[in-house]
Subunit: 219 residues, 2 copies
DNA sequence: ATTATCTATAGATCTATAGATAATGC
DNA sequence: ATTATCTATAGATCTATAGATAATGC
């Protein structure tokens, strides 16, 4: 390990951060914090690192948040399940028209690309999952299930079952599976950086096909 | 947060740990460390906690390992992919007899129960994944793929494809999916403690059915 | 004059080491 | 006599606070 540099050049004199309104600064701190928490987790991220990433002093961090945990919480709360609402509406329409293939492909693609785009956030969510108690995870899950994707997919599967198109089984569990499969692949590929050896669009097609094949009654 | 107890009773006088051979002590430290690393990760686990869990002093920890990271590494190396070898041999036989259903159920069951049994270890592996660079994750994965489940499942799928039973597509990716689905459900249910609302055996059946259905050509 | 920022530092850990103490096996 | 353990502590962080300094808007 490299010893800490003792004779730091006085050259990099601390330039005072541009003055922002309290609420803007909070948002900016949170935004840059997600990158750090996503990379190293709560315990692995120091308040010094948070300060540097935000371009302010440690004192400023604590002016806006009482503790490091508060930054963590704010980062995690602030970015949980935002704009799924509109997306679900689009999916409803495809569902009505019975376009299973197209619908599933969209869901899968959204997951895969979402994990790629918001890598830091999703890595942080994994850290949050690992850091929470089982009880907290359960509650967190109930909150996510309330609205959003899992509920929609569950309803969709139930309808297709009644129409005799999909296999039987508890819709909620089948939805877990239909979402879980792309999530797992996205986690490995996008969050852990494991090269699966195929490009994203091919992966989407393969995932969608496997899901749909699995859900459809084999005639 | 509770203030640190100042007046600790002299009652709980440190009882000197039973003397073990160096190699036994190392193993015992590793074993108890997995629980801590699995719960709180590398950064969230202090050397004091490692010492307490092993029932020795901090000095003793450092007598056996040069750094905390060394304990982490040893814990993670020591328990990676051990007895899959025999299990794979059993599976080979089922594969030869063309018993797809039975084979997939066994694989799924092994994953689900394995995650339940070795919860700490698998939680720790998740922490390791998150803490590693993409490059390190790739190397780690290549090492795991060399032997063991992924390679076997990949071969098995390739054979069934040639026999015209399974859908087309890169066997390695299809294997990722067939293993990834149960892994994702096991992660949520066993590692995060999310209640999926079905018992394990039902879950195994549902997972196996979806996998097999997904892989088989729909006639 | 109010609000945001920085500087300096206290106090609490946390990792790691050195040297003392106790147990084991020859 | 050798090996394992413990005690005490140094030095390095790390979190959080108090008070000084600078920018903004009235």
């Amino acid at each position: 390990m490299p010893k800490k540099m003792k004779n730091r050049r006085p050259a990099d004199k601390k330039t005072r951060a541009r003055r922002l309104s309290a609420s803007d600064r909070k948002l900016q701190i949170i935004e840059s914090a997600i990158g750090l928490f996503g990379k190293d987790g709560l315990k692995g991220t120091t308040t010094k690192a948070l300060a540097d990433a935000a371009g302010v002093s440690e004192g400023t961090i604590f002016k806006h948040f009482p503790t490091k945990e508060a930054v963590y919480m704010a980062a995690f709360e602030g970015r949980t399940g935002q704009d799924t609402r509109k997306f679900v509406l689009e999916l409803e329409q495809l569902a009505d028209k019975g376009q299973d293939e197209e619908l599933i492909q969209r869901v899968v693609r959204a997951i895969l690309f979402g994990y790629g785009r918001d890598r830091d956030l999703h890595r942080m969510l994994l850290y949050v999952r690992l850091g929470q108690s089982d009880q907290e995870n359960q509650e967190f899950n109930n909150r996510l299930d309330q609205t959003g994707m899992p509920a929609f997919v569950s309803r969709y599967i139930a309808v297709r079952q009644q129409q005799g198109v999909f296999v039987s089984g508890p819709p909620a569990i089948l939805a877990e599976m239909m979402l879980g499969l792309p999530i797992q692949l996205a986690t490995r590929s996008k969050l852990f950086g494991i090269d699966l050896g195929v490009d994203d669009e091919t992966l989407v097609e393969l995932l969608a096909r496997l899901c749909l094949n699995g859900l459809r009654k084999s005639s």
